[in-house]
């Protein structure tokens, strides 16, 4: 087990190094001028030259990469060309908002997708199945930004049931930052009013972001469970006289968990893509919005920082998913 984890960690370092190299090559080999983007169209040539000199943009590509990697190994991702502040501190400020949104979206996706998939499998071919499959099909094809616009218009503007964009009301005082997650920080500060405000602000964006994942989870849970339910050991369990709920809970769900787990791991990528679009519409101060603004202003060090953090998160999530396989299926050995 330990050897497996160590081998995977070594592989993860290799992949992340590849991500830095890929991001660096793409961002530096493309014909664009970050200096002009940062200084504006009216900047004089000497101002641009000074900017390039200050930010090391006039050095050879290989030298720039060696400098970048040297900084990175010391935990420094460089300075944002746009905000002129450290990228690590920028990411520390923006990442928690995305993390909180994504985690709540995953919770919503699990709460909706798993039961719907189970219901669809148990009532295969009947109205509940049809409804669940329709949801799965529509959820997988609806543009997340349109869903976000519709949700905001209906539940915020028309019905007034839920608050609009942002993490908190303008009148709410943000809790002292410990984790950067509003829900946890407000609980740590014993501030229930801010907790509820934060939670109400999270509902719409997290539901919108989680919709695609919920749809995919419904599909996967349904098909995995149907596959398991047709196995001989389920027939044996039934013929032994076990109650349907015991057959489902003890035998079927656990065995159907592996394919669902695989999907959960791969969903992470689509959640991040969705987060970029959802954050744009809900004015959510996360790394999605940060990445968009950075890309527009050709702030490549910042884009590389976001790419690296996203790559790291993706690799960690997939490692955890692989390790979880062993929990659900003890036959899997990590040798």
């Amino acid at each position: 087990m330990l050897t497996y984890i160590l081998r995977r960690l070594a592989l993860m370092v290799l992949v992340l190094w590849g991500v830095t190299l890929g991001a660096f090559l793409i961002s530096h080999a493309l014909p664009s001028d970050p200096a002009a983007a940062a200084m504006g169209n009216n900047a004089r040539e000497e101002q641009l030259a000074d900017f390039r000199e200050r930010n090391g943009l006039n050095k050879p590509l290989a030298t720039q990469y060696v400098i970048y990697m040297g900084q990175l190994l010391r935990g420094d991702m460089g300075t944002s060309l746009r905000t002129q502040s450290g990228i690590v501190s920028d990411l520390r400020a923006f990442f928690p908002a995305t993390l909180e949104l994504t985690l709540v979206a995953v919770v919503f996706a699990l709460l909706i997708g798993l039961p719907l998939g189970v219901i669809a499998a148990l009532w295969q071919g009947r109205p509940p199945d049809l409804l669940a499959r329709t949801f799965a099909l529509l959820g997988g094809a609806t543009p997340v930004y349109w869903l976000a616009i519709l949700a905001l218009t209906l539940f915020h503007e028309r019905l007034g049931w839920l608050p609009g964009p942002g993490r908190l009301d303008v009148y709410s005082l943000p809790p002292p930052t410990h984790t950067g997650l509003v829900l946890i920080d407000s609980l740590l500060a014993h501030d229930t009013a801010v907790f509820w405000d934060g939670l109400r602000h999270l509902i719409l964006p997290a539901l919108v972001l989680g919709a695609y994942s919920a749809a995919l989870l419904t599909r996967m849970t349904r098909s995995a469970l149907l596959e398991v339910l047709s196995q001989d050991y389920i027939r044996t369990a039934r013929s032994k006289g076990l109650t349907p709920s015991r057959v489902l809970g003890k035998h079927a769900v656990r065995n159907a968990a592996l394919p669902v787990l695989t999907v959960l791991g791969s969903l992470f990528g689509s959640l991040l893509t969705g987060a970029v679009l959802t954050e744009t519409i809900f004015s959510w101060p996360g790394i999605g919005g940060y990445a968009t603004t950075s890309a527009i202003s050709l702030d490549f060090p910042a884009v590389m920082g976001v790419t690296l953090i996203a790559g790291l998160a993706y690799s960690v999530v997939n490692l955890l998913v692989d390790l979880a396989y062993g929990f659900f299926d003890p036959r899997i050995s990590f040798s």
Partner: protein, 286 residues
Amino acid sequence: MTAALTSESGTGSAVWRRFRRNSGAMIGLVLLVALLLIAVLGPFFVGSPSAQDLAARLSPPSSTHLLGTDQLGRDVLTRVVSGSRISLGIGVSVMLASLLVGSAAGLIAGLLGGWWDEVIMRVTDVFLAFPSLILAMAISAALGPSLTNVMIAVALVSWPTYARLIRAQVLALREREFVEAARALGSSQSRVAFRHLLPNSLAPLLVQGSFDVGNAILTAAGLGFIGFGAQPPTPEWGAMVSETRNYIAQAPWASSAPALAILITVLAFNLLGDGLRDVFDPRKGV
């Protein structure tokens, strides 16, 4: 091609029979044929997508403007129909480009093995760990927002799936008798690849391909929505939703029509992909 499908999933007519019995797949196919007809013939029957009638801005659907007009008085139906060419074009081009690059990489990795396999697989690992939309945004921003750059960007993040798929197929097929027989008869590496391995991998490629056209359309429309894709006044569906989003309360048709067009197109490709998977692998048709 028929021979390949025959050996893996039944005769051609049996495959078609199974496909016809699959209602989802048939709905997908009919929708796709309709969309293709609209994309190919539609623009000949509607006017210019940029024609403005400021007096009729934000008009609701009527007999003159079947899907209403947008904030500049442009006919929404005309723009949606013209946009179908763009979106389908992006989806199919991206899929073909990723399929070509990915299949070549997968074939090399699977056939040559050793270091080739190791290096190519690690490169796919790296690309899979890349946040696709952010990578696409960076490329579009640096090269300048345009449709071509969107296609390059989306293809760049889509090819690894095909590489892995083909590699897995090659590894599974290369020990089979018919491949060994071809080798024993003196077939060259490339003949084995193109005459035997690739045709027998067609079924999973078709399934993945149809899902990927839908995915590419969604990603490209997402890029268009945040301003990295086609620029106004190009009637790209994602950009159209973005341009009209502030008018959703007064004129919901203006942003809903292109959004529904994206939804229906992606739905059609997903239904087709689902159907093809069930048809080629009946065990999964649960």
